[in-house]
């Protein structure tokens, strides 16, 4: 029983990690919290849904959702953030602007879906279950875990083994210095926002499939979990996001199983709150200064 719980926790943790990867990439590289990530995630689910309904195969729907969400994410960067880079207090401005962008996406999706919960047609993904040593797991769940592992590996490879990744990390370290060294900021912004959006898009389709629901407000709970993950894992830390995501999934499943019903959320957000107070830079060390100035 506990093994099944742990497994379920790891699976929902993978889902959280998938959402958080793109979120933390932006906050780490550009030091802004992009709340519109939730809207991009939801848009990805919608694109996937409509592609499947139109009769396209699932793999193509996923690819199109990733491309569409990636482009949308870059578009959001252009309209919501580019103008703000000249301002001094970009943190606040970016948060407001991305909330605005998110509201627009939600509004469009609500009109499009007529406030209904949409479900992928039955059989979009084969419902196969594996039984192994008393543990039950579906093929979809296995695929999600495998995909998270692959995407995590690809993202690390991209960031640490390619010249594009070096440029991204240079910008994350010190944007002005990176530009003096000849890094083209436009290309870095395009790459980070596109990748972040594409990750959100595939997360949207997979989560829409897993829970068989595509809904205009589906991003909000994941956004809130996303905050927990990036704080616990350290703002901008990619491995931190994966570990914190898995940890969160397991804790949540165990809390639901063993705590009085309804206390899970209170526990998770208390964890976030307390985590911020004792270790604002996260378990794996973030980069931004979190705490007040004083004698240092």
């Amino acid at each position: 029983m506990i093994v099944q719980q742990l497994l379920n926790g790891l699976i929902s943790g993978s889902v959280y990690a998938l959402f958080a990867l793109g979120f933390t990439l932006i906050s780490g590289t550009h030091r802004i919290l992009n709340l519109a990530h939730a809207g991009v995630f939801m848009t990805g689910a919608f694109i996937g849904y409509y592609c499947v309904v139109l009769g396209l195969p699932l793999w193509l729907a996923i690819v199109l959702a990733m491309i569409g969400s990636g482009l949308l994410s870059y578009f959001i960067d252009i309209v919501a953030f580019q103008q703000l880079r000249a301002q001094k207090q970009i943190e606040f401005a970016a948060l407001i602007s991305s909330i605005g962008a998110n509201l627009i996406l939600i509004n469009i999706a609500q009109r499009l879906s007529d406030t209904q919960v949409l479900s992928f047609p039955f059989g979009t993904f084969p419902t196969i279950f594996f039984h192994f040593a008393g543990v039950r797991v579906s093929a979809l769940q296995l695929m999600i875990v495998a995909l998270v592992a692959v995407l995590f590996g690809l993202l690390l490879f991209y960031l640490y083994k390619t010249s594009f990744g070096r440029q991204v990390r240079a910008v994350a370290g010190n944007e002005r210095a990176a530009m003096l060294l000849g890094v083209n900021p436009k290309s870095v912004y395009f790459q980070t926002f596109f990748i972040s959006g594409a990750l959100a898009g595939i997360a949207g389709v997979l989560i829409g499939l897993l829970f068989s629901s595509v809904y205009f407000l589906m991003g909000e709970p994941y956004l809130l979990r996303g905050f927990v993950i990036v704080i616990l894992g350290g703002l901008g830390s990619i491995p931190g996001a994966v570990v914190a995501g898995l940890l969160l999934g397991v804790m949540q499943t165990l809390a639901t199983a063993y705590l009085p019903p309804g206390l899970t959320d209170a526990m998770i957000y208390s964890l976030l709150f307390v985590g911020l107070l004792i270790r604002p830079s996260g378990l794996f060390g973030g980069q931004a200064i979190a705490v007040a100035a004083g004698r240092r």
Binding site: A293, G294, R295, R296
Partner: protein
């Protein structure tokens, strides 16, 4: 007014020693100079005095009271103020408000009085406003009273910063390169202000590159190089010290 004493003050960042065993005194009613080539550790000394950095070792005393571990706002309330190398005003606030905020440490009205607009607060606001206007007149800045400070010309911003420092009326005023980017006439005017402040009893620490300016104003000069004091004494003596000349010009 009390004087400021630094005793064997050191600051290390990781493995790098920025300030090492520096001792000097800023007496009341006088101007003391602190000079040295770029990177000598002058601004680090200022940051140590004002509570921005933690001391690695040593002691800082104001009138016998140890202020070496006080937080920045406590240091300010005890009577140590500073100006910034790259002027820092409140850019959105008016010139008048930028001066009035200087009186903050002299405020006596309670928080409740401020919140509910009690007379104690109102009369204090009136008093500060009048005193600020008087300062603006003295510095020939009255016509800019309502201008947002961030849009003023450089020289005018410098004056606003000086007015703010005068409003604070500190025991010790640290001046971090106050005449950088000014011509001789402007610098001279500002020098007169410094002398006026010193004769009113204030102790000034002048951190400067402009040797002529320092020689003219200071009674005593301390020369820093790579974090250490290499010479100290009256400017006429120090400026001819071969060690100082080498530090500035390099070994020729």
């Amino acid at each position: 007014m009390p004087s400021l004493v630094l005793e064997r003050v050191s600051k290390r960042f990781g493995g790098i020693t920025a300030v090492s065993d520096v001792s000097f005194e800023v007496p009341e009613a006088g101007i003391t100079g602190l000079i040295g080539p770029n990177g000598a550790g002058k601004t680090t000394v200022v940051n140590l005095i004002t509570g921005m950095y933690k001391l690695t070792s040593g002691e800082i005393r104001l009138g016998g009271r140890n202020v070496g571990s006080a937080q920045p706002h406590e240091v300010a309330r005890l009577g140590i103020s500073r100006t910034f190398q790259n002027i820092r005003l409140l850019p959105e606030a008016s010139v008048l408000d930028n001066v009035i905020i200087g009186f903050h440490r002299h405020e006596k009205a309670s928080i409740a009085a401020g919140m509910f607009g009690f007379n104690a607060s109102l009369s204090e606001i009136r008093e500060f406003r009048e005193r600020a206007r008087a300062l603006l007149d003295r510095f020939h800045m009255a016509r800019f009273a309502e201008h947002p400070a961030g849009y003023l010309a450089y020289g005018h911003q410098r004056r606003v910063e000086m007015m703010r420092a005068v409003a604070m009326n500190p025991a010790i005023l640290l001046l971090d390169e106050p005449v950088a980017g000014m011509n001789d006439v402007e610098a001279g005017e500002l020098g007169d202000v410094f002398q006026e402040l010193a004769s009113s009893g204030m102790g000034l620490l002048l951190i400067e590159h402009n040797i002529r300016f320092v020689t003219k104003l200071c009674q005593n000069v301390h020369v820093l190089d790579t974090g250490r004091t290499i010479a100290a004494g009256p400017p006429s003596v120090v400026m001819h010290d071969p060690v100082v000349v080498t530090a500035y010009l390099g070994t020729a």
